[in-house]
């Protein structure tokens, strides 16, 4: 039996025309983990999540969810998984209540009172047709459908995209509640780095299909920094161990390091013969931009 809730090994799946997708992806999630998948548009986030959901067949490698292959044995894992797609569309003639009833039939573990309490919390007009609801309200209905059977794994593709700040916060609170109270494993993609830092324990950054970073968020924040060095040679600076990006200014170079500040200071001083004039921590957003920016 596989001990990981999600276990992807050497998984590749590319789209023929765009060449978007994932390449030799290794990704493992233990029970109760909360994992945020980051990347620019087209970096492969949605592909990775659809592979986990068994909606795509990997061209190479193996995908296991609760130890089962979600593509060949979808029924085994699916009852324990909740999913909200990036552009989840339900028939707009249905009401949220209709949707809930459909899901109740599909999932033996559907918790009707949980669904009702979520709908109340979101002040959702459950008797009105989806076509007459706002985008945010339809998104909330989708979330209720994804979580009300109390899944052991929740897969969310850009869950709070396009939601206003209040709705976004309510949405996040529900996800945090599931993490806290149910020990749900959460795998989500997001462009909102602040939200990712709140919700994720670990993050992965996809860049052109490659997982270029897979780290504990707090560790990453403590093991990264920016350093400003006067009169340094940019090429020599870029060659320093752990240096992921350099920016040249008038007479100085800014270096972004994937290591803690004292270590970066030491490497600069020893490698370039000049002590940094200034050092500074990086936000997750700065780090993300430094890692995947400048390339398309």
């Amino acid at each position: 039996m596989n001990e990981f809730v999600v276990d992807l090994q050497g998984v590749s799946r590319l789209y023929p025309k765009s060449h978007n997708g994932v390449r030799r992806l290794d990704l493992r999630l233990a029970a109760g983990e909360s994992y945020g998948l980051l990347g620019r548009n087209g970096a492969g986030k949605t592909t990775a999540l659809r592979l986990v959901m068994g909606m795509l067949r990997p061209a190479m490698g193996t995908v296991r969810v609760f130890g089962f292959d979600p593509f060949t044995e979808p029924e085994k894992a699916k009852v324990r998984v909740g999913y909200l797609a990036e552009d989840q569309e339900f028939p707009t003639a249905l009401t949220p209540l209709d949707l809930f009833r459909l899901h109740e039939d599909l999932y033996p573990s559907w918790d009707k009172s949980f669904a009702d309490s979520l709908a109340r919390r979101f002040s959702m007009p459950t008797g009105r047709r989806l076509r007459d609801l706002s985008k945010g309200q339809r998104r909330q209905a989708g979330l209720v459908c994804a979580v009300a059977h109390r899944p052991a794994l929740l897969v969310l593709d850009e869950p709070a995209g396009g939601l206003d700040p209040v709705t976004r916060r309510e949405f996040l609170e529900e996800v945090i509640g599931l993490l806290s109270d149910e020990g749900t494993t959460v795998l989500f993609s997001s462009h909102n780095l602040q939200e990712v830092e709140r919700v994720a324990g670990r993050i992965g950054i996809l860049d052109a299909g490659h997982l270029i970073l897979d780290r504990d968020v707090a560790e990453l924040r403590e093991a990264s920094c920016r350093v400003l060095v006067d009169g340094a040679d940019e090429a020599r600076a870029a060659a320093l161990a752990g240096c992921v990006r350099t920016v040249k200014h008038d007479g100085a170079v800014t270096l972004t390091f994937l290591c803690a500040e004292p270590e970066a200071r030491r490497r600069v001083t020893e490698g370039l013969g000049t002590a940094p004039r200034q050092t500074s921590p990086l936000s997750l957003e700065d780090l993300f931009v430094d890692l995947v920016g400048g390339r398309q």
Binding site: G32, S34, R169, L172, E173, I176, G177, L179, S180, D181, L193, Q194, E195, E197, R198, V199, A200, G201, V217, A218, R221, E222, S280, P281, S283, L284, E285
Partner: protein
């Protein structure tokens, strides 16, 4: 009774979220907002309140416990520890970073050493006079 706490989380801050929580709980203890024996919110409740992953809160509480600021009792929750207010050698070390930041700030403003020390003394006095 559990003592509610105001904690401000800023994901853009220089510190990781668990460190922000640790610093603010320590500040609450130092300023008397939290006193010895007060029960702090459970890590699940705080996770919900702050909308932060429960593992992050657990990590903050672990560090606070290791440094002697809170004590946890099985089944009862976490409390502000008796010795929390005593400065340990590591506590002075922790202040050093902030102190040098303050010095740099003062120098940037063009203040003299005496002026900076006076500001610190005034702030200290103000802090002490708070209930």
């Amino acid at each position: 009774m559990t003592r509610a706490l105001l904690i401000r989380i800023d994901p853009g801050d220089g510190l990781p979220i668990y460190r922000q929580i640790v610093e603010q709980v320590k500040a609450a203890i130092a300023s008397g907002v939290l006193s010895e024996g007060d029960r702090v919110p459970s890590h699940r409740d705080l996770a919900r309140d702050l909308v932060v992953a429960p593992l992050t809160i657990a990590r903050a509480y672990d560090l606070l416990e290791r440094e002697g600021f809170i004590a946890r009792e099985r089944g009862k929750g976490a409390f502000v520890a008796a010795r929390a207010k005593k400065a340990e050698p590591s506590a002075t070390a922790q202040l050093n970073g902030r102190a040098s930041a303050l010095v740099r700030h003062a120098q940037a403003l063009g203040l003299s050493r005496e002026e900076a020390l006076r500001a610190l003394r005034d702030a200290w006095q103000e802090g002490k006079e708070k209930p």
